[in-house]
């Protein structure tokens, strides 16, 4: 009996060896959290005034020997500083390291030579790609590493910048937030800002578009005089960068696709030209529908918006918002403005860039007229710019705000 007890105790002791911790554990203090990723061309960021020899020194520390001696990209990572108890008042919460090379994954691993802790990508908030890179290679090639790695999240925001991505990563927000979080949050309120394309522009959706061979729109971010701003949109045909569309075109597109949730529509006061009236959207029913008649394809977009008078700069005595006649006049003015905005977006995307943005029209045709889609899908790129769009807009002002 005693022997059995001793034997049992020994077994329990042996089993406890397996309870010492997780095989796959990674201690928090042993990780460096990557918050933002910037991708530039390898020669980007050469600062004016820096001697070429000094520049070369920097490159040597930031790069590694490759047999074919080619460096295509500069990869910059924004890492979160870990606060220690004696160092609470830090100027910035992040720091940036970078490297040059051909393979993004190889550069990441080589950066372990610049950082004492392992790089942890589970909290990446944003990836910023410079326009210069996208002029050389397709978006698919740049994003492959990120869509393959299991640490990446689907909701990572992706921006395009006409300047250097690294300088945006080095930017310290005035609010003292961590830079990557600040940059990612800029797009979160896109439903309340007509000028920012934000719907379906994160890594998960971009992978979906790439797999579907769809066209892509990404927000443009730039820094001018230490001011960071989102606006305009980078337009891709499949994964090839074709240019930027301006903010007014973005607004028109968002209205057309019904991705606006709380937009502002600004127009001239009908009674006082030069003064502005603003419509604040609360709810809308926007339906984009394909039609096929006798083999001819056309689309209709029916926009119905309900909202509020948000601002009125005219003469309050003459512009009486309590007067239904005046409200009808305003509704007509806003409807006209929306129509103008949508037609402008049509002109930019369809006529000038000749891109079916996010392949929305193609999706609609495929979903609702599959037989026609089968016939035209191979010539869609050529056919799309010639397809008419019939616009109908109805505005209903439901409230005038807290003052007449």
């Amino acid at each position: 009996m005693a022997k059995q007890r001793i034997f049992g105790c020994m077994i329990l002791l042996c089993l406890s060896l397996f309870l010492t911790g997780c095989w796959d554990r990674r201690e928090l203090q042993d990780r460096s959290f990557v918050l933002a990723v910037g991708i530039d061309t390898a020669d980007a960021g050469n600062k004016p005034g820096v001697k070429p020899e000094q520049e070369l020194e920097v490159k040597r520390t930031e790069t590694f020997v490759q047999p074919h001696d080619s460096k295509r990209y500069r990869l910059s990572l924004q890492l979160l500083k870990q606060e220690t108890s004696g160092n609470k008042k830090q100027e910035t919460k992040t720091y940036v390291i970078s490297n040059t090379g051909d393979s993004l994954f190889e550069m990441v691993r080589d950066m372990l030579g610049q950082n004492s802790k392992s790089l942890w990508f589970e909290h990446v908030q944003v990836i910023i790609i410079s326009e210069a890179v996208l002029k050389q290679v397709g978006l698919s090639e740049v994003l492959d590493f990120f869509k393959r790695d299991s640490e990446m999240r689907s909701r990572i925001k992706i921006y395009v910048t006409p300047g250097d991505a690294r300088s945006l990563l080095e930017y310290s927000p005035p609010s003292k937030e961590a830079g990557g979080i600040y940059l990612a949050d800029l797009v979160r309120l896109h439903t309340r800002n007509n000028h920012v394309i934000g719907m379906r522009t994160d890594l998960g959706f971009i992978n979906q578009y790439l797999d579907n061979q769809s066209n892509i729109l990404l927000p443009q971010i730039q820094m001018v005089d230490k001011v960071v701003k989102l606006g305009d949109t980078a337009v891709f045909k499949r994964d090839k960068f074709v240019g930027y569309a301006d903010e007014y075109a973005v607004a028109g597109l968002k209205i057309m696709f019904g991705t606006e949730k709380s937009a502002l529509i600004t127009a001239e006061c009908p009674n006082h030209p030069g003064h502005q009236v603003v419509f604040e959207l609360f709810r809308h029913d926007t339906i984009l529908t394909p039609h096929v008649e006798d083999g001819n394809i056309y689309f209709t977009v029916d926009i119905t918006m309900y909202g509020n008078v948000g601002e009125l700069q005219g003469d309050l005595e003459l512009d009486n918002t309590m007067d239904p006649q005046y409200i009808h006049k305003l509704e007509d003015v806003f409807a006209e403005e929306i129509k103008r905005n949508v037609l402008y977006a049509e002109k930019i995307f369809k006529k000038e860039m000749r891109v079916d943005s996010v392949s929305k029209f193609a999706y609609k045709l495929k979903a609702h007229e599959p037989d026609t889609w089968e016939k035209v899908k191979d010539q869609w790129d050529e056919l799309y710019p010639e397809i008419p769009l019939v616009i109908s807009v109805n505005i209903f002002i439901k409230n005038i705000g807290a003052h007449r």
Partner: protein, 372 residues
């Protein structure tokens, strides 16, 4: 010490739960990509079609079992096909469980290693799960049945609650067009759903526990209900995957279920990376599917070689299962094994079982004529 809670009978509802739990297991994570690649936009119709045809297969099995209410297939197969033929049928029957088990172990090892424990070799994950499943399979059927009933209410409800959060990202337009239906793809896809529905063959072992308790009509109705639930679960998975990812995206990723759940952001909460929660709910589901199938394999061997206890057979099968799952060392081998298992399962269900039924009717008629 194993719990020898011998079960001599169970209700029709309990059989339905066993069928549901044995079928709806690991494959919801592992098989859906290939189904979507095959059936495309109409994959959900294939699942509905699969539900109908595999219910027909189960119905035939119930009919066959009714002719031998106190015996399992292991006992009556030699009487129908002769000693050699019967042994081949029993071997085939057991091979189906074996192939499903090793494919599931391989898949689980790969998924868990990739998404949760990236430093752990898949062999270790497989071994750990195998140990737990073996312990469960060493119990008698009473314990396994109780476990399956608990899992049916606990693990599956957890799994479904977590999965349904992905409805937040559903884009109904991704499911269009619903028409025209490509009949050939739908039918081919329907038969491919065997990998989802596979496991229902267990009724051929369990019917003696039920037949003395309930009528055939009641049994057919209740098992039909189990198939209805299975079909609903699979359709929900397929519809949400296509609705969130689109067909082209879903067929480009190895585990579309995990990609779908990964992209969920619950507004106003700090809960992130829902794929880990889904995997945590999936592991018990996999466990009880595997444990039940290992138990069934042990039972077949025990009855075939006239043993009184299934436990030595379960222990004997363990190294074979481990080696089998380790030998599937890449996706191509896995696809080949899955394909072979599907064809073996389809032939068993739609050739061997109907043939057994015809032969058994003929033998009974001849016996009746002889007596008369």
């Amino acid at each position: 010490m194993a719990n020898l809670e011998v079960k001599t009978h169970m209700s029709a509802l309990q059989l339905a739960i066993v069928v549901f739990v044995t079928c709806a297991g690991a494959q919801i994570m592992l098989s859906l990509r290939s189904l979507i690649a095959e059936a495309g936009q109409e994959a959900w119709i294939s699942v509905l079609f699969g539900g109908v045809i595999f219910y027909v297969a189960v119905y035939l099995m119930l009919k066959l079992g009714k002719n031998y209410p106190d015996e399992t297939i292991v006992e009556y197969a030699p009487r129908i096909f002769g000693r050699v033929g019967g042994s081949i049928v029993i071997f085939w029957f057991n091979l189906l469980f074996f192939l499903q088990i090793i494919a599931i172990f391989y898949g689980v090892g790969k998924v868990i290693t990739f998404y949760m424990f990236d430093r752990t070799p898949p062999e270790v994950v497989i071994l750990a799960l195998l140990v737990v499943c073996t312990y469960c399979a060493l119990q008698d059927f009473g314990t396994i049945l109780r476990l399956q009933q608990i899992m049916f209410f606990v693990a599956y409800s957890m799994l479904m609650v977590i999965w349904m959060t992905s409805i937040l990202n559903l884009q109904p337009e991704n499911l269009l067009p619903l028409w025209p239906i490509h009949i050939k793809e739908v039918v081919t896809g329907g038969f491919s759903t065997w990998s989802l529905y596979g496991g229902y063959e267990c009724v051929l072992l369990l019917l003696p526990l039920v037949y003395r308790q309930v009528s055939f009509a009641n049994l057919a109705k209740v098992v039909g209900g189990a198939f209805g639930c299975l079909t609903l679960v699979f359709v929900l998975f397929i519809v949400i995957i296509i609705g969130v990812l689109t067909v082209d995206n879903a067929k480009s990723v190895p585990y579309p279920v995990l990609l779908v759940i990964r992209s969920v952001e619950l507004p106003g909460t700090f809960i992130e990376r829902l794929e880990n929660y889904l995997l945590l709910a999936w592991i018990p589901v996999v466990f009880d599917t595997l444990a039940a199938q290992m138990f069934f394999m042990g039972q077949v061997c025990m009855r075939q070689w006239h043993y009184l206890d299934h436990r030595p057979w379960v222990l004997l099968l363990v190294p074979m299962i481990y080696v089998g799952s380790i030998m599937i060392d890449n996706q191509q081998v896995y696809d080949a094994v899955s394909n072979f298992t599907m064809w073996a399962g389809l032939i068993f269900s739609f050739v061997v079982v109907p043939l057994s039924l015809i032969l058994s009717w003929r033998q009974k008629r001849e016996a009746g004529t002889g007596c008369g």
